[in-house]
């Protein structure tokens, strides 16, 4: 038992780092994922992975293959896309999914154009995106800072964010915080995603943000327990995935995400709001 569960983390520093990094990411990203899901913006993460290309390309054009300028460029591009899409959805008739799609496509095309002008054939995203097995001190500090900022902001603006997410018109009628909170939330999304890409790669950051949230939705209707449950599922998936990757020689990112995926599938069927329970309840209702 000790050999199976604990020894890998005791023997190898990179396993400790992988665990610490992925757990800290779950802490911030899972609650953000819950809100994204409730706002029906679950695919934002994938869009964002493409949207940051022009920023990374600008960083690359001026500073070469340096991680820090490319990450900052990516953050700026991500914020522009998110805020642009948010503004369009807020001030026009168009919904957030359509405006997000429009903005990320423009951004992606711009990025491809810039990379081609430079004539480089190095895959920028391949260099920028990290892997959970190779977290250095900088990456760990980055993730820790993101988790801290995310949790603090969520706690401070909790009521406003919940209201903004569930009933924006109500919030607008009782407070002027609506618009700022909307953009603060989008900022959190970008921060978690871009930071996560840099440290852990796209699959892991988007996956850890959305899958635990989607799974938690099948167990509760209240937002607070849903966030807590999402974080717990995220933690469990990270630990299970890393152990699986270690013992079964599977790539780590996919192993963690598949663990979360398994939880999601089980929740879909057996969750208190899943297929099984809702069916049985309806059945009883009919016969009674």
């Amino acid at each position: 038992m000790y050999d199976f569960l604990i020894a890998p983390f005791v023997e190898f520093g990179f396993m400790q780092r992988a665990l610490a990094g992925s757990l800290m990411l779950s802490l911030g990203a899972c609650p953000v994922g819950v809100f994204l899901m409730l706002r029906r913006m679950s695919l934002t993460g994938d869009a964002m992975a493409h949207a940051i290309l022009p920023g990374a390309a600008v960083g690359f054009l001026f500073f070469g293959l340096q991680i820090v300028p490319m990450t900052i460029g990516g953050l700026v591009a991500g914020v522009i896309v998110a805020v642009g899409a948010g503004a369009v959805s807020r001030f026009t008739v168009q919904k957030e999914d359509a405006s997000m799609a429009a903005f990320y496509l423009i951004s992606l095309a711009l990025g491809v154009l810039m990379v081609s002008l430079r004539g480089s054939s190095v895959d920028l995203m391949h260099v920028l995106f990290g892997t959970v097995l190779a977290l250095n001190d900088e990456a760990l500090i980055l993730i820790a800072a993101i988790a801290a900022i995310t949790l603090t902001t969520l706690l401070v603006f909790w009521r406003a964010i919940v209201a903004e997410c569930l009933d924006p018109l109500f919030l607008r009628s009782v407070s002027r915080l609506g618009t700022p909170v909307h953009f603060i939330f989008l900022g959190l999304v970008v921060l978690n995603l871009v930071g996560g890409f840099q440290a852990l790669g796209t699959l892991l950051s988007v996956g850890l943000m959305m899958l635990p949230a989607a799974a938690a939705r099948f167990w509760t209707t209240r937002v607070e327990p849903m966030c807590a449950l999402a974080v717990a599922i995220g933690f469990g998936s990270c630990i299970a995935g890393l152990l699986l990757s270690y013992h079964a020689a599977l790539p780590s990112g996919p192993a963690i995400i598949l663990s979360a995926g398994l939880v999601y599938l089980v929740s879909t069927i057996f969750g208190t709001r899943g297929v099984f329970n809702t069916r049985i309840r309806r059945h009883r209702h009919r016969t009674a």
Binding site: P8, E11, F12, G13, F14, M15, R17, A18, S116, G119, S120, S121, V122, D123, H126, V127, G130, T131, L133, A134, L135, N136, L242, S245, Y246, H247, A248, A249, L250, P251, S252, G253, P254, A255
Partner: protein, 314 residues
């Protein structure tokens, strides 16, 4: 007898179109090389009789390259297209089809004895020669140019292809190829001498992806890598743990970055084991003209000097 031999030689190099359009007298032969190392060979063999276009330039990664319209144009106009083959250039097949080129596509690995890629990284260091026979049943390793003996085959194939496309220049190509092959032979001797000066039990080193299979096979070093044969694959925790164990048991004596891959994994292994990163090896692409490996011969010298320096210095 002689005639049939010549026929066989001709058949072995002309792959897609039996007879490419005969080039005009003063026109240079238009040659497309798929990546920088082949480009360097072609320049040495062709001299100023050929007009060379290299698709994947210095420090570029041919595994994940996305071709541009200019590449398709160069391809469509080309008389000869030189490629590595063995599925090294993933982008190539579609580009050939899309450009509708009439050029002969010459796979330079023709005549090279292919070796298979390693399935597992765990096999014991030190006995690189015999550990090979039964250990793997994966795909074929395309990085054949990492052995100088194979580079000579590449050069011969290029000369034959140029002769077939431009009979007037044949003598000049043959002469260039001979001169260059002599340089390669000299380099090979120097590489072997350098490796002979490394003690037997220190000949296991770590790089970031499996690009040095042929080098290992030919010169008796063992290379271990967390990533697989393509730079696209992702490492597993078990692979990284196995590498770290190898270093801790003093089986691997140096660790290197490569010019085309993400260095973070290598840096992490280095920092965890206390092994210093010994420098950058050039695996699948040359450096720009001002770098330490702007030609194939410079690259081989640079790689072997870097390896030797790091192992003997530690």
């Amino acid at each position: 007898m002689l005639k049939s031999l010549r026929l066989a030689a001709l058949m072995s190099v002309i792959t897609l179109t039996p007879f490419s359009p005969a080039s005009a007298f003063a026109e240079p032969l238009k040659v497309v090389a798929s990546f920088s190392i082949i480009g360097d060979f072609a320049r040495n063999v062709g001299g100023d009789r050929v007009e060379l276009t290299t698709l994947v330039g210095p420090d570029g990664d041919a595994h994940v390259y996305e071709p541009k319209p200019a590449d398709a144009m160069a391809m469509a106009k080309a008389d000869v297209v030189l490629v590595n083959g063995l599925h090294f250039e993933g982008f190539l097949q579609r580009l050939v089809e899309a450009s509708a080129t009439k050029a002969s596509i010459v796979e330079l690995t023709r005549g090279v004895e292919p070796i298979k890629m390693k399935e597992e990284h765990e096999h014991e260091g030190g006995d690189a020669g015999e550990g090979h026979a039964h250990h793997h049943h994966g795909d074929i390793d395309p990085h054949a140019f990492q052995s100088i003996a194979n580079a000579k085959i590449y050069v011969k194939n290029i000369a034959d292809a140029f002769c077939a496309a431009d009979a007037q220049g044949c003598d000049s190509y043959k002469a260039n190829a001979d001169a260059y092959t002599q340089k390669l032979t000299r380099t090979e001797g120097e590489v072997k001498a350098a490796i002979a000066s490394i003690p037997q039990d220190k000949r296991t080193i770590i790089t970031s992806h499996d690009a040095f299979g042929y080098f290992e096979h030919e010169y008796g070093l063992t290379f271990l890598a967390p990533e697989g044969i393509s730079t696209e694959a992702e490492a597993s925790a078990a692979d990284v743990a196995a590498l770290i164990r190898q270093v801790k048991e003093d089986k691997a004596s140096a660790i290197f970055m490569e010019n085309i891959t993400n260095a973070r994994l290598v840096e992490q292994i280095a920092s965890e084991t206390g092994l210093k990163v010994g420098g950058t090896l050039y695996s699948d692409a040359l450096s720009p003209a001002d770098g330490p490996a702007s030609t194939y011969i410079d690259m081989m010298h640079h790689n072997v000097d870097t390896i030797k320096g790091a192992i003997l210095g530690s």
